[in-house]
Amino acid sequence: MSSTPVIKCESVYKIFGANAGKMLQESNGNVDAKTFQESGCIVGVNNASFEVSEGEMLVVMGLSGSGKSTLLRCISKLTDATSGKIFIEGQDLSALKNKELIELRRNKMGMVFQSFALLPHKTVLENIAFPLQIKGINAKDCISKAMDMVKLVGLDGRENYFPRELSGGQQQRVGIARSLAVEPDIWFLDEPFSALDPLIRKEMQDEFLRLQGVLKKTIMFITHDFDEALKLADRIAIMKDGIIEQLDVPANIVLNPATEYVRKFTQEVPREKVLKIKSVMDPEDSSLELSELNVSKDAIIEEVAEKILSQDKPVPVIDSNKKTVGIVKPSKIIHTVFGARKEDS
């Protein structure tokens, strides 16, 4: 994995306000949201540094106003970062000319918006074909490509509807299809499912996972919903007042919160419901005698807890190729399910 990361941020700041740049320079990078606010500046993103590698899905979480969307907008250059460097596949964003930026967006990036942001005067098909049209692809190819996308998100039969004639879930599918039409390598999703009801949301999440299984894109995904984050994420970033408090794999976020804020944030999450076996498994140890049973590394703990607890011996964990990749001890399950709770109370 020595290849360049797809997205790389180096102390990115975004501060809103008239003299944000000057204030930032004077503060030497130590930005305190409160003092900035007093002088009329709002801190959007505060010293964000991280990398996202190819095919990875990074989920960004945080309370409303914590700067998630702002971070995403900086990376997609919808707003300019006040300071710091952002690299997309090794290219410095701030050094890009307008033309190059447009090219980058036309070919490499896709974005799904919280409120769908469909063009009201275009049909489903035309909305999806829009980025292709903009790119200057001929009408016939546009239509056939867009039609593929319509099928991919399961809207066939409705391609000639207008956005106003669709339900929220259907509109968001159009948004997703549109962002995928140019086959971007990098995919930004800003709370794509938050406007949907729980049933459709679950359906969309499953569909999203299926799509990602096929497409293997580099993804930044914003959500408010921890269940959703745990279900989808390779890694999770938790933001507060513009600062990334912790960026880690889900299990570490839940099990080893880096700050008090993250601990509080994750406290209510029922671990066994969201953690996968792989996040609590131990490395294979040939000295131990293993149980006859085995569990998949992607199984949710809750679903297999009973099975594991019925065994005395550690249970081997296998991957999708039935290869043993680790073991899980019943005691660990007990600790995960009940241990953390006791600490809390």
Binding site: L78, F116, L118, L119, F130, V182
Partner: protein, 717 residues
Amino acid sequence: MEILKKYPKSIQWLFLLIVFFTLCNTIDIPEGYKFIRAQAEHIKDPNQVAYSFLGVEVRYYPYDTLWRLPPFIAWLPIWLNDSMDFLLNDWIPIEIYDAEIQEYETRPLILQITRIISASILFLIQAFREILIGGVETVVAFTSWDWIDANPWAELPGLPWTIVAAAAIILGYKLNGKGLAIFSAITMIYISVFGQWEPSMQTLSFVMVAAPISFLLGMVLGIWAYRRKRVEAILNPILNVMQTMPHYAYLVPIMVLFGIGDHAGAIATIIFATPPMVRLTLLGLRKVSPEVIEAGKMSGCNDFQLLFKVLIPTARRDILIGVNQVIMQCLAMAVIASFIGAKGLGWNLLLALNQLRIGLALEAGVCISLIAVLLDKMSLAWANKQTDYFANLTFFQRNKFGLFFVGSVILGLILAYVGSIMFKQGFNYFYEVPHNKGISTEAFWNAGVDWVWDTFFHSLKIFNTWLIVEVLQPMRAIYLRMPIVATFVLVMGAGYIIGGIRSALVVGGFTLFIALSPWWDRALVTAYMATFGVIVSVIIGTIVGSLCAQHNYSTKIIIAICDILQTFPSFVYLIPVMMLFGVTDTSVLIAVIIYATIPATRYTVEGLRSVPSALHDAGSMSGVTRLQRLFKIEYPLAFPHIMLGINQTVVFALFMVIIGAMIGTEDLGQYILKALSDAKGGGKGLILGLCVAFIGLAVDNLIRTWAEKRKKHLGIA
């Protein structure tokens, strides 16, 4: 001043009034002051003093400055006029090749530019006009008079009225179904049957040129203002002034720059119709959600694509509402533009009014109003129409309206041909009903007027005299009795109480401009007439509005009535009033009242209806009676909106007062009108217009500031 702020508003107002009246009573009318009827510059009176500024000599009667300020900007109109003259006649002469005399000629740059503009607009109007009613000048423009004499077949014949009517009906049907189609039919047949076809088509061709130009201009400026904050900041006050300046005021400068004729009328119209387009474009673009814009950017749009493929289509509805406004303004200007030579219905109306042929004026007025309502309904229907998807339709379905039109063209031509055989020696009624061969109702209306006069003469006269002697003259005297310091204390004090120092300065600035002009007394008369109109309008408007707002059904009806009345060009209101009251101040005031009651009523209804129903329920639960509910809940909440209506009422009233000068009043309007017939009246017209605009803007500033504060206070901003 700061101490005052501690007291409640009511005490502040009381204090202000006390100071105001004390000032009024302590400052006496100076000896020798009389309401100056003649203009000071024209008479040389040893009692006058004079000063010179920028080479302009200004003579005036000096009074105590507490009573009236000296006209320190009286040089401005003259200077403006001279500068305009200079620009037009002497500035940057260039060599122009004149094709007619085949020689080079020197001509000043500006003159050349305005000539080119005039010529191109005139050409466009002519072209439309000749398509509609025939003519030769368009063809001549490409060839020559000699050629057309030799080839008389090339003369444009004009469309038979049946075809134009069919086109209007099809368009109406396409936009909004049967109802609008029927209304189109009625309008077109009315126009034709009453012999108004030619002037109507002249007016229409005028609108067809002025409206698209205003639309483009407004859109470009709107987009520019959207993209550059600074442009908006500069444009905003200019638009404000343009929208509150009375229509007459532009006419003289335009006449000076562009001459007289249809093109000059069109240019005046464009100036008036562009501001609402700019406003609505800006509003529409602002309303596009930032996420939609971002979606466009993420799709890789460049600036151009973003504008034309994302922003404008998304703001479509507001932009089309702008088109509606533009068309309405164009028709409203149709009459006023005829002052500087625009032909058409407006011209006929004006002529008829001048000759006091009420019946004739009424016919033309009804015609303009019908066209206005029709175009209003059509453009609104267009704005509200959603885009449709046509991919799955057959060729016939997709093109059925086009096919119908082609069919009607053929049918119309056949009819016209049949007509030419049928009506061998008279006029071909299937082709065009000539102007005075239609049915005329003039005699009927004139008889009606006579009857009204014979029957009600006495009571009308008594009412008229009573109003003038008992109400208007005393009110006028009170206004003129105000010393200038008292006026300043009143308006600036009101500004201070309502909006703090800033408002006080703004309002004071507007007033100062008028006070330093030579027309302060006239402005007071204008203000008194407008005040009278506004007071009566507001009383009628709020009462009618409150009554109508009580039921859903009556609400709908009154809003519909307001909609229709609002589309009538303002001149139309003068006709029935003149019928009843003849040429007096009373006529003008009644026209003002009718015209200005419309916004007062509408805003009252809207304000009352927009009170959230949760509050109604809360009120009902605490057992209030209907009357209590109206006074304790609805009025306080609706008040800011009603105040905005009053704001509109003031603007409408001012407009009407000025238009009323047509039938004789002695306020600013009359002077503007006089300036129209004065070759050197350009600067004067503009400054007079500014005075009127500033009265409007001062009131606007006060009411708007107040309403905004109040809304914030009530949490409904």
